[in-house]
């Protein structure tokens, strides 16, 4: 287990280094002179040169990369060219919103997706399965933004059940915080729920036909234990894989959802930065996203090994 953990950590570290290189080069590869962007209306060659010297754009790429990495490591991602606020501070206020939204959406997706998937598998060929399949198809087909708009239209504007936009910090008012996030989380979670449902259904069907399920029934175990413990535990490996792959989609989905519901999160920050060509912010945003991917994948792999002993104990001679 420990050697597995170490090798997995090492892989993550290498990926992270590669990610920083891509982020760094990606921003450098953008068309146009960054000094021009910094300078704004100024076109005076002397001040452009001053900017280049100040930000080190004249130095070799290697040196610039080193500076970028070492600064990033100390938490200094530069300042927004528009507002002059440190990127780290902007992230610190935006990230918690997005993390909370994504976590809630993930919760929605797991509860609905796994639940409906299990029902569809157990009730195969009966109305419950058809209903679950139809819901999954809808969930996959309906775009986030449309669902969000409909939710606002019918559940906020028409009935006033939920606020249409805005955000309240969890630490200020937890109930109001959740109240604001219910709709965005459900909207963001539906697509993922549909994917999870289909995956759960197919891997549950496979598990339910397995010999160990026959053994479990032959032991006299009731349907709850047979389905909920013996079959589900085996199905979860595949479901977790799908979740890991789809979490990236959750991040990009969050960008759209946050925009619709006016949440001051990571997505809004990203969009604003892109529209305003705020390079340091874009760089920070991409770096954080890449890191998030890597961390999520690491956690997914850890989860596998918790679920399936064959992965946990791989390499350990029996």
């Amino acid at each position: 287990m420990r050697s597995y953990l170490l090798s997995r950590l090492w892989q993550s570290a290498v990926t992270l280094v590669l990610a920083t290189i891509v982020v760094f080069l990606g921003v450098r590869a953008l068309p146009g002179d960054p000094a021009l962007a910094f300078a704004g209306e100024e076109r005076d060659p002397a001040s452009l040169a001053a900017i280049r010297a100040k930000y080190g754009f004249d130095d070799s790429l290697l040196l610039q990369y080193w500076r970028f990495v070492s600064k990033s490591l100390t938490g200094d991602l530069g300042r927004s060219t528009r507002t002059n606020i440190p990127v780290t501070d902007m992230l610190a206020s935006a990230l918690p919103v997005t993390i909370e939204l994504s976590a809630l959406a993930l919760g929605v997706a797991i509860v609905i997706g796994v639940g409906a998937g299990v029902v569809a598998a157990v009730r195969r060929g009966r109305p419950a399965e058809w209903a679950a399949n139809a819901l999954a198809l809808l969930g996959l087909s309906i775009p986030n933004f449309w669902l969000g708009l409909m939710a606002i239209l019918y559940l906020s504007v028409a009935t006033g059940l939920f606020p249409a936009s805005g955000f309240v910090s969890f630490f200020e008012d937890p109930i109001s915080n959740l109240h604001h996030l219910v709709l965005p989380a459900v909207v963001l979670g539906t697509g993922l729920a549909a994917v999870v449902m289909r995956q759960t259904r197919s891997s549950m069907l496979e598990a339910l036909g397995a010999d160990y399920i026959r053994t479990a029934r032959a032991k006299g175990l009731g349907p709850q234990t047979v389905i909920g413990v013996h079959a589900l535990r085996n199905s979860l490996v595949v479901v977790v894989t799908i979740l890991g792959l789809q979490l990236g989609g959750l991040i990009s989905g969050a960008v759209v959802t946050e925009r619709i519901f006016g949440l001051p999160g990571f997505g809004k920050m990203t969009l604003d930065a892109v529209f305003q060509r705020d390079y340091p912010v874009i760089q920070g945003v991409v770096l954080v996203t890449a890191t998030a991917y890597i961390v999520i994948n690491f956690l997914v792999d850890l989860t596998y090994s918790l679920i399936d002993p064959r992965i946990r104990l791989a390499g350990v001679p029996s």
């Binding site: 397995a210 010999d211 160990y212 026959r214 053994t215 479990a216 029934r217 032959a218 032991k219 006299g220 175990l221 009731g222 013996h230 535990r233 085996n234 679920i307 399936d308 002993p309 064959r310 104990l313 029996s318």
Partner: protein, 350 residues
């Protein structure tokens, strides 16, 4: 088992182990499946008894209904199956019993071992947990007591260093070890009847022998009746006291093991015996005798011998009238029954 003449070993113990009162009594058990092409008759009017400590082998080719019979005893068939007749386990009727009632019996009084020890254990739980589960379910013991009982059971089935093995996962054990774990799990609650569905088919020959020894030994020691489902006559000769031969869902012959091997009456039985390779036989002596054709899939059980199409001795009578499962007309040998109009051992055929 292959390459050696089957030796009847179990038959000798029949009298010693017999208590005269069956723990499992099956009468007129029939199973039909609803399929998209209509109904299929898988088991037809099967009757047999098993006594405590006795090993009853049910033999036949693939598709002859032996596994369906085994599954139907504990109510393990899918919903598409209709089961009629009677299965009495120590006087309790199992056919038509509620799911709850059957769950209380399965794993407790009626236990199963299956063919594939590789896949019959859940890969994500330790073997200990899987044994503990059945103990806690039926005997309501504490987790700690169940765990130490699991270690005892692993010792009983001959697993070395059981205290360590109990915390291991199925993939860390060999096939033979896994089957021992399955046996430990099946015997955990001291079942009255153990149904072993091809328990050694997936194992190496040397491991097969060890597992069969273990089954026979534990069956006699614990007084557990064993219903052994197999297609392997070598296995039958090794451990069975009595044999039931099934063909196309029907019992075609039943006799004590020694008797069946010495004087098979039904042509299907002689065909099965002829298909077993014998040591010392050369290729030049001709190939093994096989039975031509396949087991038919029946939608309706006909009033005829279902083996007639493949039988060397079939007559018109066989195709128009179903032979009853009757005892041989020989006093003292009434335990030998067969369903054949022209038995292999009769005078006219000799």
């Amino acid at each position: 088992m292959l390459g050696s003449q089957p030796q009847t070993g179990g038959g000798k113990n029949a009298a010693a182990a017999s208590t005269g009162r069956p723990v499992l009594s099956v009468r007129d058990l029939s199973v039909t499946f609803r399929t998209e092409e209509g109904s299929v008759s898988a088991v037809d009017s099967v009757s047999f008894d098993v006594e405590a400590g006795e090993v009853l082998a049910v033999v036949g080719e693939s598709g002859c209904g032996k596994s369906v019979t085994a599954m139907s005893l504990g109510g393990l068939l899918p919903r598409s199956a209709t089961v009629t007749g009677s299965v009495l386990l120590e006087g309790t009727e199992l056919v038509g019993a509620s799911d709850r009632q059957l769950r209380g019996i399965r794993g407790d009084d009626l236990a199963y071992i299956f063919q594939e020890p590789m896949t019959s254990l859940n890969p994500v739980f330790t073997v200990g947990r899987q044994i503990v589960e059945v103990l806690r379910l039926h005997q309501g013991v504490s987790a700690r007591a169940a765990k130490s009982r699991a270690v005892e059971l692993l010792t009983l089935v001959g697993i070395p260093s059981p205290a360590r093995r109990v915390d291991e996962y199925p993939h860390q054990l060999s096939g033979g070890m896994r089957q021992r774990v399955m046996i430990a799990m099946a015997l955990a609650c001291g079942p009255k009847v153990l149904i072993a569905d091809e328990p050694t088919t997936a194992l190496d020959v040397t491991v097969q022998a060890a597992i069969l020894d273990l089954l026979r030994d534990l069956g006699k020691r614990l007084g557990t009746a064993i219903v052994l489902i197999t297609h392997d006559l070598g296995v039958v000769a090794d451990i069975a006291d009595r044999v039931v031969v099934m063909y196309a869902g029907r019992i075609v012959e039943t006799a004590p093991t020694q008797e069946l091997f010495d004087a098979p009456q039904h042509h299907y039985t002689t065909g099965l015996l002829g298909a077993v390779p014998t040591a010392g036989r050369r290729a030049s002596d001709g190939r093994l005798q096989e039975i031509p054709g396949l087991v038919p899939v029946l939608t309706v059980q006909p009033d005829a011998c279902t083996f007639a199409e493949r039988c060397p001795a079939a007559s018109d009578r066989c195709r128009t009238s179903r032979p009853p499962l009757a005892p041989e007309e020989n006093p003292g040998r009434t335990v030998h029954r067969f369903a054949c109009w022209h038995p292999a051992g009769s005078e006219e055929d000799r």
